[in-house]
Structure formats: structure tokens, C-alpha cells
């Protein structure tokens, strides 16, 4: 049965998307916290620049990632020289590509969720002796986590569907960097309709399962922070 052939790209996709979501969420939450609740022109400019991965063509993103991570790029050359690590054509490279593409979603969701928290509650915590990190972990985050989670789920969906940047950075090596979306393209180009069908069905089922989990987790959320 052709479905078994879909298992390898499926597991790879889940691994890449999960790790990408974790990284994108941690960085997104940290940057959202750093930008703070006050909206100033400078902070809006920073947020806009950080949202670029969402609006740029994925190939442009892939190009810049190659410029940075490639063997001639400043970061890639340093990794190669000092650690002997190359991220190009590896699944770790695919994680980075997906994380960068998904990051704007976690950032925007976290920023909206944090600024929805009543500033007076944070002030109350301060007068009760809480440091800024205590205020964040005991008041702000517990009240904002649903919005943050909504952003993480969108990021996961974005990471699962990542194609252009991943192709440029990690290539499409079956069993190594070929995620579901890349495998589907590969099967269609090769005229292998049966394989394409199986992969598409697996993608659909996975997407529905993710949406169901999301609905469960966000049951009591008033509004989703869609961008």
C-alpha cells in the first residue's frame, strides 16, 4: 500500500514542524515581551520588519537564509570553520526555515495576547512585591496563554506547509529533508499519481487532527488572533 510510503515524510514533517513551532514560540514570546505593551512608532516599525517573513515570497526568505546559513554566509561559514557543522541540506536547516517562516505568527499573537491583559493587574502584582519576571510568569502569561497558544497552532500549520524556503535551504532529499509538501510536489512532477494521492490524504488527515486539537485547547477562547 502506498500509504506506508507516506509515513517517513509524515514523521519528518511532524518533527520539523514541532521543533520549528517550539523555537518560533519561545522567540516570539520573548520578543513580544521585549516590545512591551506600549505602541510607539519605533516598536511598530520593529514589529513590521519582524513580520516580513510572513509577507515575503518564501523563495526570498530561502534566499536570505542561504545568504546567512550557507557555507559562504557569515553565520554558516563560522559554523563550518569552528564546529564543522553545515545546516544546508539537513533537516535541522528545514527546522530553521520553517521557524523563521512561522515566527511572525507567534510574535503577533503573543503581543496581542499580552496587551489584552489588564495593566492594572500587573501593577497590583508590583505593589505586592513581585519583580518583573514574577509579574510575567504569575500574572501576564497565565492570563495570556490561550492567545499565545492560538498563535503557536497557526505557526505549526504554517511550518507544516512550508515549501519554498525549505526547498532552498534543505532541498528535497527523500527520507532526509523531504517533508510532506515537498514529497507531494516530487510525486506529481514524477507523474506518480498514486503516491501523490496517498500523501495528500495523509496531509489532509493530519491537518484535520491538528485543527480538532486546536479547537479543544481553545474551546473557551473568545477570539482567535488571526493575522
Amino acid at each position: 500500500m502506498m500509504l506506508s510510503e507516506a509515513i517517513v515524510p509524515l514523521l519528518l514533517t511532524l518533527k520539523v514542524a514541532t521543533l520549528a513551532t517550539v523555537f518560533a514560540s519561545i522567540v516570539g514570546i520573548a520578543v513580544a515581551k521585549f516590545l512591551g505593551r506600549r505602541r510607539t512608532f519605533a516598536r511598530d516599525v520593529v514589529e513590521s520588519l519582524l513580520t516580513l517573513p510572513l509577507v515575503l515570497p518564501p523563495t526570498v526568505l530561502g534566499y536570505y537564509l542561504l545568504v546567512v546559513l550557507g557555507h559562504n554566509g557569515f553565520f554558516g561559514a563560522w559554523l563550518m570553520r569552528d564546529f564543522g557543522i553545515s545546516l544546508i541540506f539537513t533537516w535541522q536547516g528545514a527546522v530553521i526555515a520553517a521557524a523563521v517562516a512561522a515566527f511572525p505568527l507567534t510574535l503577533r499573537a503573543a503581543r496581542a495576547a499580552f496587551s489584552d491583559v489588564d495593566a492594572q493587574l500587573e501593577n497590583a502584582a508590583r505593589t505586592l512585591g513581585a519583580s518583573e519576571s514574577e509579574v510575567f510568569f504569575r500574572v501576564t502569561f497565565p492570563l495570556a496563554w490561550r492567545g499565545v497558544l492560538a498563535g503557536a497552532l497557526l505557526a505549526f500549520a504554517r511550518a507544516m506547509g512550508e515549501f519554498g524556503a525549505t526547498l532552498m535551504v534543505a532541498g528535497s532529499l527523500p527520507g532526509r529533508t523531504q517533508t510532506l509538501s515537498l514529497a507531494i510536489y516530487d510525486a506529481v512532477m514524477a507523474g506518480d499519481d498514486a503516491r501523490a494521492n496517498a500523501l495528500v490524504i495523509v496531509s489532509l488527515v493530519t491537518a484535520v487532527v491538528v485543527l480538532l486539537i486546536a479547537a479543544r485547547l481553545l474551546q473557551r477562547t473568545q477570539r482567535m488572533t488571526l493575522t
Binding site: 489588564d118 492594572q120 493587574l121 501593577n123 497590583a124 502584582a125 508590583r126 505593589t127 505586592l128 512585591g129 513581585a130 519583580s131 519576571s133 514574577e134 510568569f137 504569575r138 500574572v139 497565565p142 492570563l143
Partner: protein, 231 residues
């Protein structure tokens, strides 16, 4: 002994309006009442004393300890001022139970643990809230929420308690009763209070030292002075 000394200036710009706050007063009374109409700058003054609003210039001291001094670049952060704040809308943590709210300031760290010490239970009992220990703030009435807010502030053993319009969110019938309860609770805790209000009935009930505020400035008390006798 001067309990509290305030002399601050702060210019606030909102939209195209400008507001100049210029407040000076001292008080060594157990209860100090700051009285004035809405928008006079009472809440801003309270926030400045608590460390939630940074004045442009001036000086704030509590029991001879300087909390803010623009000339000496002293600005003690809110968490180290030992000042309790009961917010107008109470600002109870909606994700925490009554007991967790009251215990909030008594433990450090990044987690809201459930361990409640005896002292917190005693404070909760004194405020007649034992039955609501595991309830969430939104399940309580306005008067009960206010008692939680007061208990939460007292649990930190502050050196001064700030009350921002403590009765404005309550209906008239409740006010009289809660005033008595609040005054009693603060007396029991032996913590000096600074109360702000725009309600002259509050002024009469609290007694103590009166500070009249209007349009961002302290003005001499000239309205019904016989009304405000120290109790």
C-alpha cells in the same frame, strides 16, 4: 514624626490636552483623606506614591525613608516600597482563588503555588472570607471583592495603605457598612491609610487629616471644616 511627605510635579500629555500635577502635602495622621472631584489628579498622586508613575521632579518619603527624589536620582521600585494599594476596580487576579490572591505577595518565585500559610488564613478569616477561600474573584460580590483586595494588600504587611476610591464601585446601601468595616480592619492592622475620594460622605466617615485637591493642586480646606474632625 512625618509619616508621609509628598512634593511632586508631573506633566501629563494625552491627545492634545495637557495636565499639570503639582502636589505637596505632609501627613502623620493614621488616616489621611485626599478629597477632590474626578480628574483632579488624586489617582495619579497615589500611583506616584506607590511607584507606578514616575514624577518629573520632586520628592516622596515614607517614615523618613526616601522613596523618590529626582535631585538625588532615587526611585525605589514599586515592589520595594512596602506600600499596599487597593485599586478602584480591585484588580484581583482572575485566574487565582481568593486564598491565592491574598497569598500572592507572600511568596517569591515564578509559580503561583497553592501552599497557604496560617497567617493568610487568619487574614482571610478576619475579613469574613473563609467560606470563599477557593472561589474565584468573579464569583464574588463587589463588597466581597473589596475585602479580598484589602486582605491581599494587608497580607504583605505594608507600611502604608493606599485606597483609590474604595467605595465608588459599590451601591449606596453597601457603602456605609463597608466604610465601618474598612476603617475597623485598617485600625486592627495598625497600618496608616491614605484614602482618596470624591464623596464628601467618605470624608466625614474617615475623619483624619484632609487634603483637598483640585485641578492637580492642593488647595486649603475651606468647605465645611467642622465636618472633618479627627476621631
Amino acid at each position: 514624626m512625618t509619616r508621609i511627605a509628598v512634593a511632586i510635579d508631573k506633566r501629563i500629555r494625552a491627545d492634545r490636552r495637557e495636565f499639570q500635577l503639582s502636589i505637596q502635602f505632609e501627613s502623620d495622621a493614621d488616616v489621611t483623606v485626599m478629597y477632590g472631584p474626578s480628574g483632579a489628579g488624586k489617582t495619579l498622586t497615589l500611583q506616584a506614591i506607590a511607584g507606578l508613575l514616575r514624577p518629573d521632579s520632586g520628592h516622596i518619603a515614607l517614615n523618613e525613608r526616601t522613596l523618590f527624589d529626582s535631585a538625588k536620582s532615587i526611585d525605589v521600585p514599586a515592589r520595594k516600597r512596602d506600600i499596599g494599594f487597593v485599586f478602584q476596580e480591585y484588580a484581583l487576579f482572575p485566574h487565582l482563588t481568593v486564598l491565592q490572591n491574598v497569598a500572592f505577595g507572600r511568596r517569591r518565585g515564578w509559580w503561583n503555588r497553592n501552599a497557604i500559610d496560617e497567617e493568610v488564613r487568619a487574614i482571610v478569616a478576619r475579613m469574613h472570607l473563609e467560606r470563599f477561600g477557593d472561589a474565584f474573584p468573579l464569583e464574588l460580590s463587589g463588597g466581597q471583592q473589596q475585602r479580598v483586595a484589602l486582605a491581599r494588600a494587608l497580607a504583605c504587611k505594608p507600611h502604608l495603605l493606599l485606597l483609590d476610591e474604595p467605595f465608588s464601585a459599590l451601591d449606596t446601601e453597601l457603602r456605609g457598612q463597608l466604610r465601618t468595616e474598612l476603617i475597623q480592619a485598617a485600625r486592627d492592622a495598625a497600618i496608616p491609610m491614605l484614602v482618596i475620594t470624591h464623596d464628601s460622605d467618605d470624608v466625614a466617615a474617615f475623619g483624619g487629616k484632609l487634603v483637598n485637591v483640585e485641578n492637580g493642586r492642593v488647595i486649603p480646606p475651606n468647605i465645611g471644616a467642622t465636618h472633618f474632625q479627627t476621631t
